[in-house]
Subunit: 301 residues, 2 copies
C-alpha cells in the first residue's frame, strides 16, 4: 500500500521535504498559501486539493510552517487538518516552537486520537531538498512506527529524544541558541579582522583550521567573502528563533547574555532593512557601525 | 650542523614545544621561572644553563610566555635574550599580544640585527606536545628560511600572513574572539538545555551532528559531561585574551558586543574562584545563576 502524506507549508524547507517524499515513492499532498508554490509542486509529481480530502487519506501530516501560530492554525484552525485525520494517524510538527507549545499541541491532537511527534529539523534547505535533514524528535513509539517510512524519505538522521512532546523543541532551542550566536560571532570576528587588516579571504583560509571555527562559520563565511546575500536562510529567522530561545529562558529564570547580545545584532540587521537577505548580512551591521567595507558581489544590494 | 634553539617559557604550551623540538633532533635549551619544570625538561633531554650562553649558541629563540609584559621581559629585560643573540638569528614570539606590540618588538629586535616572527599559536597543549600546532606567522622571508627546521619540528601547519609583524597577532586575536565566544556559548547552551530537561549527555550526542556545533563545543563539552575541570586551558586565559581583543577593538572604534558578553562570563568565573579550573568551568557561572546542577566527576572540586 502506498504511504500517503500531506506536507503543509511549501517554503524553502517544506518544499524540499515534500519533493524528497515524492522521490521516495510516497503519495504526497502539498499545501501552501502561495498558489505558485503549489503549482510548482504539482509539476514535480505532487497532489493537491482540499485539506479535508487529504486529511482523510493520509497516515502522516508534516507541518513545515514558520512558527507556533501557523502551526496551530494549520492543525486546528477552521481549515485545520487534524479534524479530518483518522484515528492513529500522525502529525509531525517541524517548526521551531516553545516546548510548552509542543506539549499543548500533542494534548490537543490526542483528543482527536491523532498521534503527535514534536520534530524540529536542522540542516537547511539543501539538506531538505536531498532528503538528508537531521530531526530532533520526541513522541510515542507507535507514532514513530507509523511515520518511519516518512522519516526514511526526508531525513539522514533522526534523534529519538523520548516519548514526551517538548523534548524535540527543547533540543532545537538549544541548537538555535548556538547557531544564531555562531553566525553573529562569525560576522563580529570577520569584521573585527577587517579592522585589523585581516582580509575575509585570509580569515576563511586560516580560521577553519583553528580552534575558533564553527559549522556556521564554514557555512556562512563564504557568503560574505563572495558578497552573495541570496537568502538560503534569512536574517528574519533569528529575531524569531533567538526570541523563542530567550522567551523560554526568561520563563525558566535562565539568563543567556550571549544569545541576548546576538539577538540585538540580528534585530539591528532586520530593523535596518536587511531582514530578507541571507543571515550572513548581520556582518553589514558590524561593518556599518565601524566604517568598514565588505566584499561586494553581483548579488549584493 | 645541529640546529640549536631556546624555548623560554615551559608552561603547558612551551613544554610541549620544547619536547617536540628535542624529539625532532634539535638541541634545545629550556628556561622557566619554575625550576621543577626546567629539571623535568632536562630529564627529557633538554639543556639549560644561562640565558647569555644559550643566546650566543642558538639560531632561534621561541618565546612561549603568558603575555606581552613577559614577552618584553624575556626579550629585553635585564636577563633578556636578545642582547646575547647573534646577527641574523630569529625570535619566534608565540604569546597572544596586540598587533601594535608585535610591531614594536620587531623594531626593537631589528635594532639588534635580530629577526622577528610574530607567531601566535593555536591548538592547545596536546597538539603542542605532539609537534602539531597551527602557527599564524608573519615576518620576513629570511626569518622563515632560518627558522623552518624549528617550525617543521613543532607545527603541523604554518600560515604565512605576510612580512610585517602584527599580521599574525591580528589573526590570533580574531581566532581568540571566536574561541572564547564559542566556549561561553557552549556553556550557555548546555546549561540552558539542562533548564529545559536536555541532559548534557543528550546535548553532546545531538548537537555535534547539527548546525549549532563548533570546534570548542566538541572539545570542551565533554569536560562538563564528565565533571572534569582539570585545566588543559584555564578560565584565566580568557579575561586576558578577550581583554586583548576588546582593547584592540576599542582602539579601532570597533564594537564587539558578543565578545564583550562572553568576557563578562569569564570574569564572573574568574572572580568567583574558578580561574585555575578548565575554561569549561564557565558553565558553573550559568548553573549557579540559574540554580541548576552540573554533572560531577572525581576531579570536580
Amino acid at each position: 500500500m502506498t504511504i500517503k502524506v500531506a506536507v503543509i507549508g511549501l517554503g524553502s524547507m517544506g518544499y524540499g521535504i515534500a519533493t524528497s517524499a515524492v522521490k521516495a515513492g510516497l503519495t504526497v499532498y502539498g499545501f501552501d498559501v502561495n498558489a505558485a508554490q503549489v503549482s510548482r509542486f504539482e509539476a514535480e509529481g505532487g497532489l493537491t486539493g482540499s485539506v479535508a480530502d487529504a486529511g482523510k487519506n493520509i497516515s502522516t501530516a508534516i507541518i513545515v510552517v514558520l512558527n507556533a501560530a501557523q502551526t496551530e492554525a494549520t492543525l486546528f484552525g477552521p481549515n485545520g487538518i487534524v479534524q479530518h485525520m483518522t484515528k492513529g494517524s500522525v502529525v509531525v510538527a517541524c517548526a521551531t516552537v516553545a516546548p510548552d507549545f509542543a506539549r499543548d499541541m500533542a494534548a490537543r491532537c490526542a483528543a482527536h486520537d491523532v498521534l503527535y511527534i514534536d520534530a524540529p529539523i536542522s540542516g537547511g534547505s539543501i539538506k531538505a531538498a536531498t532528503g538528508a535533514l537531521t530531526i530532533m524528535a520526541a513522541g510515542p513509539d507507535k507514532a514513530f512506527d507509523a511515520a518511519s517510512p516518512v522519516f526514511d524519505a526526508i531525513s539522514e538522521k533522526v534523534f529519538r529524544l523520548g516519548a514526551e512532546a517538548g523534548a524535540g523543541s527543547a533540543m532545537k532551542a538549544v541548537n538555535q541558541l548556538l547557531a544564531g550566536v555562531h553566525i553573529a560571532a562569525m560576522a563580529e570576528a570577520m569584521t573585527f579582522g577587517i579592522s585589523q587588516g585581516v582580509t575575509p579571504e585570509a580569515f576563511m583560509e586560516v580560521i577553519p583550521d583553528c580552534a575558533g571555527t564553527s559549522w556556521m562559520l564554514e557555512n556562512r563565511g563564504p557568503h560574505i567573502v563572495e558578497g552573495d546575500y541570496t537568502p538560503h536562510s534569512s536574517v528574519n529567522i533569528w529575531p524569531k528563533d533567538l526570541g523563542i530561545v530567550l522567551d523560554i529562558a526568561r520563563s525558566s529564570g535562565f539568563g543567556a547574555p550571549i544569545a541576548a547580545a546576538a539577538l540585538q545584532q540580528f534585530l539591528a540587521a532586520s530593523g535596518s532593512g536587511l531582514g530578507h537577505e541571507d543571515d550572513a548580512a548581520v556582518a553589514k551591521v558590524y561593518a556599518r557601525n565601524a566604517g568598514l567595507t565588505l566584499p561586494t558581489g553581483k548579488r549584493d544590494a
